[in-house]
Symmetry: C2
């Protein structure tokens, strides 16, 4: 019997998340990205489709590598205009019954004392269904406008992030004993001060002495996601993250990363299987394989090439704005951009890479595979990916939003359920008491709503 | 015919906002401060009671003057534990039809580029029903834990806040032309870059060159509240605020401030009547005056003296922890605290002030009056206050939450409506099309959802 897999809908409150041009598809609703009712409907669609969670990406800056200007990103709506994902999260949770809600937030923009309060608030307002995608890096264009000066060197950024996590663990896990907040009318005591202690943190980057501003919430520490591939990044992820994202072109490629992740987790003293590995996929599915391939061809016709190259430029630092979109890519290679291009072109070494081909690749698959076919074909490929890559789940990209999520639920989920690869559909509040709603940590396989004992955050408990 | 007045419910997501001890009253529900369903119900109660808006206070630190420790504040639940009010705002708006939602946010904790995105997101998610209470100051205890070092000198803090406002206006008002965001499928253009420009701000405190990350929302700039009483604070408020809060013990006292505010607004080139003046009141009402006074006596018995003195200590810097609660206050006066105490004791110069009397005063009325009586008596006093103080509206404090808001709606609102002092009850979505829902700016008397032409933010428009 295979173990069930985990599925997140990967989203962003923007006109274009990862598929430039596809907003023009007649079924796409991304133009409504700023409407709360749109997001409430979409969250319900995603929940009904069988996803475990919705994950919201974030970037606090504009993509301005392509043509050394944000114009292509603006014209194509590439992750701009946008909303702050944290403010959307409570609405997504209130509109659904048991969907976990993941949000991206950088350890760079807010003081840990402030961000700790925000995530405790989110944990309260979602009744423990919140997950935090911890981001350590940021764009230079964001840093500039946020008044942050130049970035720290790569490894030092992780040192600072390590200390940041220590502070927020001290606040979430160590500050209040379990029964410190009673608000007991007979005793007249709201919080017993003897059961509260200050964070008492004096470090290299932060000094936080006060206790948490928030009482313990259902999870205390939000469920922690992270993405990291460099050696230092992987060590950080293996220490702190409960689930890790990684994109790769083949399951074998991802398997090498998964192996390193599990080794690092073991080195860090954690159960290597307790760290969930997720990889990105795009799924294009229809009743038959032919219909699915036709749909993929249709999607491809909607790709906005300059906009996709603006996204590619932001990811790689390579500006393809001067290149003939249909000329072989070798002509625009320089020493500076060769390795960046290589990270893409090696995904399909036999392809005749041109800027247009890069754009189509980015816009349909992002940095992961596109699984196209009938429901059975897609389920086969999902199963193969999970087995070979040794991942626990997938972040599913939608080219057409939210239609592709709805189609995943309609076509793929039933086949996955038949095979035991997806848990049975969960009841609604009519037949499922609220108290049985799982926290995000339990949705993703945790034994309970709190950090496991072998997690470094648990060391801050009294 | 009198002009209708404006009423905000003054709230905070904490066990105790301004009335330490009153959470023990059998009708009080503040212990549920961390429950989203509690706040959705309360927002609906406040809307049904006829209030124009709900206003959420905020403070990112603990009250630790009393006994040089946060223990009394923790034990009494005085504004701790808490939630981040910004994250609560979208839920309050979604749970109601037309209630304006005001939130407090400091210009100290977030970069203007970040906070501008947050308020644009809130304006989108509330469909233009958001107001921002601009706070320039902060507690030393907050600053310490947020890594902000020592505060700027008072007047320089306002210089920095002035520049901060310039940056956010440039982003909200100047960055996108009205029709820059089209997401037009035929043209394939999401945003026309020719209709977008960078903030281009190079100042003393901030450098923000990029365009806004957000497209124009219904209000663009959120409706702006502020509190300021010092000459520099009043000049800041008169320049930027569309509504200003001020607390005072008598309407005559408040009238002097209102006069100065209107003069300053005129000096700043604005219509002095376009700046709305609000003052704080607590209302204790019942069927008869005697029943109301009995209820006030009952409330007073619930006051938590040390917790109220912890709140008082936070406001004034005066630590009364060593004083006999029933000894005359003169005995604890020192040069250092005489003027701080004076700001309270002059509110009722004939009273025999003791620490207990200060605590009761704080816990029931805060820094404003307590209007107690039958519905007609309360309406009379509200009318007198509005006339003599020349205010446009009131921030109503509830001692028992949310019962006092519900009672205001049940007892006082009908009498105010009879007298033309409160606009008629607004319909629900059944008989009132969503398109007729007013923006916060219109709720508070503006001609439309956008800043008026004579507001300095409007100068950033193209």
């Amino acid at each position: 019997m295979p173990r069930p897999l985990l599925f997140n809908a990967f989203e962003m409150p923007v006109p274009v998340h990862q598929s430039p041009g596809l907003w023009r598809h007649p079924e796409d609703e991304s133009r409504n990205y700023a409407s709360p009712a749109h997001w409430e409907r979409e969250a319900r669609t995603i929940e009904a489709a069988g996803f475990h969670g919705i994950f919201l990406a974030d970037v606090l800056g504009l993509y301005d590598v392509y043509g050394a200007s944000p114009d292509a990103a603006l014209r194509g709506g590439v992750q701009v205009p946008q909303l702050d994902p944290l403010l959307l999260a409570p609405l997504l949770a209130r509109a659904t019954e048991h969907l976990a809600v993941g949000v991206t937030a950088s350890v760079t923009y807010a003081a840990p004392y402030d961000l700790a309060r925000r995530f405790a608030t989110l944990d309260a307002l979602t009744d423990g269904r919140i997950a935090w995608n911890v981001v350590t890096s940021y764009q230079e264009s964001a840093a500039l406008n946020l008044g942050l000066g130049t970035q720290l060197p790569h490894d030092e950024r992780y040192d600072r992030a390590d200390e940041y996590m220590d502070v927020v663990y001290a606040l979430w896990e160590g500050s209040y004993e379990e029964d410190a907040y009673t608000a007991d009318r007979d005793s007249g005591v709201v919080v017993d001060p003897a059961k509260v202690r200050g964070a008492g943190h004096h470090g290299t980057y932060f000094d936080v002495t006060a206790p948490s501003l928030t009482a313990p919430t259902r999870q205390r520490t939000p469920y922690l996601f992270q993405a990291g591939a460099s050696p230092r990044g992987l060590a950080f992820a293996a220490k702190h993250a409960e689930a890790v994202f990684f994109s790769g072109p083949t399951p074998e490629h991802v398997a090498r990363w998964t192996g390193r992740l599990r080794e690092e987790a073991e080195t860090a003293g954690r159960d290597p299987r307790s760290v969930k590995a997720f990889t990105n996929v795009a799924v294009v599915v229809a009743e038959t394989g032919d219909a699915a391939r036709e749909r993929l061809a249709e999607y491809t016709r909607y790709v906005d090439v300059p906009a996709a190259l603006a996204l590619f430029g932001g990811w790689t630092g390579v500006d393809l704005s001067d290149a003939d979109p249909d000329a072989p890519l070798e002509h625009v290679e320089t020493d500076a951009n060769r390795s960046a291009l290589a990270s893409f072109t090696t995904m399909d070494p036999d392809a005749a890479w041109t800027p247009r081909r890069v754009a189509e690749f980015v816009a349909i698959g992002g940095r992961g595979p596109v699984i196209t076919g009938s429901p059975e074909e897609v389920a086969d490929e999902v199963e193969r990916w999970a087995r070979v890559a040794d991942v626990d789940g997938f972040n599913v990209n939608a080219c057409v939003r939210p239609a592709d999520f709805e189609r995943f639920g309609r076509f793929v989920a039933p086949v996955l359920r038949e095979r035991g690869l997806l848990e049975p559909a969960r009841g609604t509040s009519d037949d499922d008491a609220v108290s049985s709603v799982r926290s995000a940590r339990e949705v993703f396989g945790g034994a309970g709503p709190r950090l496991p004992r072998d997690h470094p955050g648990a060391a801050h408990r009294r």
